[in-house]
Amino acid sequence: MMSRRNGAAAVALIAALVLAACGGSSKSSSTNAGSQADNAAAGTPKSGGTPKTGGTLVFARSLDAEAGLNPINAPNNGSIFTIQQIFDQLVEVDGNKLAPGLAESWTHSADAKTWTFKLRDAKFSNGSPVTAQDVKFSIDRFADPKINTNYATLGSSIGTIKVIDPKTVQIKLKEVDGAFLENIAMFAAAIVPKAVVEKIGDKAFANKPIGSGPFLVDKYQRREETVLKRNPYYWRKGQPYLDEVQFKFVPDANTRTLELRSGQVDVADGIPYNQVNSLKGASGLKVEVADSLKWDSIFFDTKKKPLDDVKVRQALAYATPTDQILKTVLFGNGQVANSQIPRVKYWDESVKPYPFDPDKAKQLLSQSSAPSGFNLELQIPSGDAVEKQTAEIIKDEWGKIGVKVNIVPRDFGTMFSDWLSGKGGDAATFPGDALSSDTLSDDEIAALMYDPKAGLSSLGTFYDNPKVTQLLKDAKGTIDDNKRRQDFSQVQTIGMQDVPSVPLFFTKSVSAYRDKVNNFQTYPIGWWPLREVWMGS
C-alpha cells in the first residue's frame, strides 16, 4: 500500500510536468474581453515643473533580468532593459534618434571608413575613469563572433580599433556601414571596464556588473527583484533624480495592475489592451500607449505549394480584415502595417497597406495555381490570446475565399525552431513581443526579413529576391541618408508586392504609472530613460 502511494504521487508529478511542457506558457500574454479602447496618443508629454532629486521608484515588470546583467549576449528584454540603466554606449539612443553618449563628438574620413571618437570625462560606478582602452576592449568584444555569439553580425563591419590617446579612439571599418552608429548604440556595444571584466570574468560580471550608466546594482535576486541605486559618478550633472529604482518581477498581468492600483508600485508595464480604458478612468493613474519597434505578421513558407505563387499570397493579403482585428482584438492599440518590418528609421508612410477586399482576393485566387482553394496549416504560439483570436478571425475570412485554415497552437520555442528549418506549418504567427529591432536603423530587421543568408532564412519564409538583397546591400554600403531612405523605401514597396508575409500591425507598448511619477517614458526600442524620472508629491 505504501509503495503504491509513492507511485501515485510520482505519476501525478510526471503528469504535471508533461502538462506544463505541452500546455505552453501559463503566463499567456494579454487576454482581451471588455470595452473598446480609443487610440491613445503615443509617447508621454514631458511633465512640467522642476525636477526634484530623491525618492524611490518601484516598478512592477512583466519580465525579469533572470539571464544576467552582462551586456554582451544579453538574450532578452528582461535583461536588456535593466542593462540599459547601468551602462552607456559611445552613442546613445534618445527616443527615435541618436545622441552623444560616452563619446562627446565624432568625425569620419571622406570614405566613411575611419571614425574617430572623442570621449567625455566619465567614470564607472567604481570610481575609475572611462578610458580609450575600455572603449577598445568593449568594441573589440562586440565585433568578435566568438565572444558576442548572439549579435556579432551587427559589428561585422568593424575592423581594427586604435587608441590614439586616453580620450580618443579610432575605429577603422572593413567596409562602409550605413548603420554603424546605430549598431554601436545598441546594448551589446556597452562600454565595460576592461580591468574588472578581465579580473572577474564574464560569468561573475553578469551578477556584479559595473558600468558608467545612471544607476548601479545594489541587489540582484533573479525572478524576484533588482534594486538599483544612483551612480554617484554619473557624468550627467544632476541626474539621475531618483535615489533608487526597485524592479519587481510580477509575471501576472492582473496582479501588476492591482499592485499599481493599491499604490504598492509606481509603474507597471505590459498592461493588457483590455485594461487600458479602465486604468485611464482610475484616479491618480496615467496610462502610456507608446510606439514600439515591434510588429505582428502572418508569415508564409514560400517554398510550399501553392504559397510559392505570389498571386495566392496576394489573395490572402486582400482577404485579411486587419481593421476588424485591430478593433476587436487589439482594442485599437496599434496601427495597420504597410510594411513587413516594424517602423524603424526609414519607414515609408506613403506605401499603401492591403485593403480588405474579398472580391479582389477571390479574383486573384481564381487566376492563381490554386483556383479552387487549398488547405493551409497555420501554427500559432499556444497560450497567447491575441494570436489565437487573430487566427480565428483569419480562418473565418480566408475560408470564405476557399482557403481552409487549420490552426495549430504550439509551444513557441519549439514552433520557432521548426519554422526556421522549414518543418513548421504552411504559415505562422509569432507572439507580439517575440521579435523587435534592437537598433534604430532598418538594416538589422530588414536583413532578417528579406535576406535568406542573414541567418534566419528570411524569418522562415525562405523569401529570396535578388533585387531586394541588392538594395539592402546598396543601402548598407553608404552613409548617404537620402540614398539609404530611397533604397529602403523600394524594399518596402517590393516586399508589399511579393508578400512573403501578410503585415498585420505595428503594435504598442502599454504601461501605467501613478501621477506622482514625472517624465516617465517608454522609448520605441522598449526601455525607459529612468535617469530623467523624478517623484512629485
Partner: protein, 310 residues
C-alpha cells in the same frame, strides 16, 4: 520504529531514480532547443551548435544522465542554462518560500476544516450541515487564480491590510505576504479534508466502542474530541499527505498570481526554456519532498493507529 523508518527510506530510492529517469527522458523527448531559446531569435545555426557543445547537450543521453546523477549525489546540480548561474544557491531560497507557503496553507486548512467537519457531522442533514457543505463546494470549485485575485481586491485594495504581491525581506513581511496565498491554497485544501473527516466522524459515531463510551457516562464532548476524532483522523491524514504532495507541484498558479519566488513557477519557467539541468534538479527535489511527505504521513498514521506498525 527506527527499522520501519529505515526500511521506508531504502524503499524510496528506486522511486526517486524512477522519477528522475522518467522526467529526464520526457523533457528530452519534448521537441525544442535550449540553445535556440537562450541565444534568442537571431542566433545563427553555428552559434547554436557551439552552445550545445559547450553545454554538453550534443552528447549521448546516457552520458548526460550519468553526469546529472553523479552531480546530484554531491548535491551539485550544475548551472541553469537560462539563468546562467549555479542552481544550488538559487533553489535554496525557492525551497523556503514554497515550504513556508505549504505549511501555512495546511495549518489554515486544518483550522477551517476540523471544526466545520465536527459541526457538519454532528448536525448531519440539518441546515448547518448543508450550509457547510455548500461553502466547501464553492471554495473547492473556485479557480485559485480567481479566488487569489478576489482576496487581493478585498484585503489589499479595499482594506489595505496586506500586501498585494511579493515576498518581502523580514520574517513578519514573509508572514504578511504569504497570508493571502496561504488562504487561497488553504480554502482549496480545506473542503477535501472536511469531507473526508465528516464521513469519518459519521462512521465512527456509529461504532460500538462509541456506544460503549457513552454508556460508561463519558461526556459527549469527551467522546467526540478524544475517541471519535482520533479514530476518524486516520483516513484524513492519508488524504492530506497525498494532496500536499500533489500541491507541491501545483502551486505554480498561486506563485504567479502573488509574484512569489517559489519552486512551482521556477519549474514551469525551466520547462518552457528546456533548461534541462534546472528541470532535473527541481524534479529530484520535488520527488524527495513527496517521498518525505508520504513518509511523514505514514509515521503519523502509525502513531494514530498502532496496528500499522506491526
Amino acid at each position: 520504529m527506527t527499522g520501519y523508518i529505515l526500511r521506508r527510506i531504502v524503499q524510496a530510492i528506486p522511486v526517486l531514480i524512477g522519477i528522475t529517469l522518467a522526467s529526464f527522458l520526457l523533457i528530452h523527448l519534448v521537441p525544442g532547443d535550449p540553445a535556440r531559446i537562450i541565444l534568442g531569435a537571431r542566433a545563427t545555426p553555428q552559434a547554436i551548435a557551439d552552445l550545445n557543445h559547450q553545454l554538453g547537450l550534443d552528447r549521448s543521453l546516457v552520458a548526460q544522465y550519468g553526469d546529472f546523477v553523479g552531480g546530484a549525489v554531491h548535491l551539485n546540480f550544475g548551472e541553469s542554462i537560462k539563468q546562467n548561474t549555479a542552481i544550488g544557491p538559487l533553489l535554496g531560497s525557492r525551497i523556503g518560500v514554497t515550504l513556508f507557503l505549504l505549511l501555512y496553507a495546511v495549518i489554515i486548512s486544518i483550522i477551517v476544516a476540523v471544526p466545520l467537519a465536527i459541526v457538519s457531522a454532528l448536525r448531519r442533514n440539518r441546515p448547518a450541515d448543508h450550509g457547510i457543505r455548500l461553502f466547501s463546494m464553492v471554495t473547492f470549485a473556485m479557480p485559485s487564480f480567481l479566488l487569489g485575485l478576489l482576496l487581493i481586491l478585498f484585503f489589499s485594495l479595499k482594506l489595505g491590510w496586506l500586501p498585494t504581491a511579493g515576498y518581502g525581506d523580514t520574517l513578519s513581511e514573509h508572514v504578511k505576504s504569504l497570508t493571502l496565498p496561504a488562504i487561497t491554497v488553504g480554502l482549496y485544501l480545506a473542503p477535501i479534508l472536511l469531507r473526508t473527516l465528516r464521513v469519518g466522524i459519521i462512521e465512527t459515531l456509529g461504532t460500538e466502542f462509541v456506544e460503549a463510551a457513552r454508556a460508561r457516562g463519558l461526556s459527549e464532548r469527551r467522546v467526540v474530541l478524544k475517541h471519535v476524532l482520533r479514530n476518524s483522523l486516520i483516513s484524513t491524514v492519508t488524504v492530506l499527505g497525498l494532496n500536499v504532495g500533489f500541491l507541491l507541484s501545483g502551486l505554480v498558479i498561486i506563485e504567479n498570481v502573488f509574484a512569489l519566488p517559489g519552486m512551482g513557477s521556477e519549474l514551469v519557467n525551466a520547462i518552457l526554456a528546456r533548461d534541462y539541468p534546472m528541470v532535473q534538479a527541481l524534479t529530484l527535489i520535488f520527488g524527495v519532498a513527496v517521498v518525505m511527505i508520504n513518509l511523514l504521513t505514514d509515521l503519523i498514521y502509525a502513531e494514530l493507529d498502532p496496528r500499522v506498525r506491526l
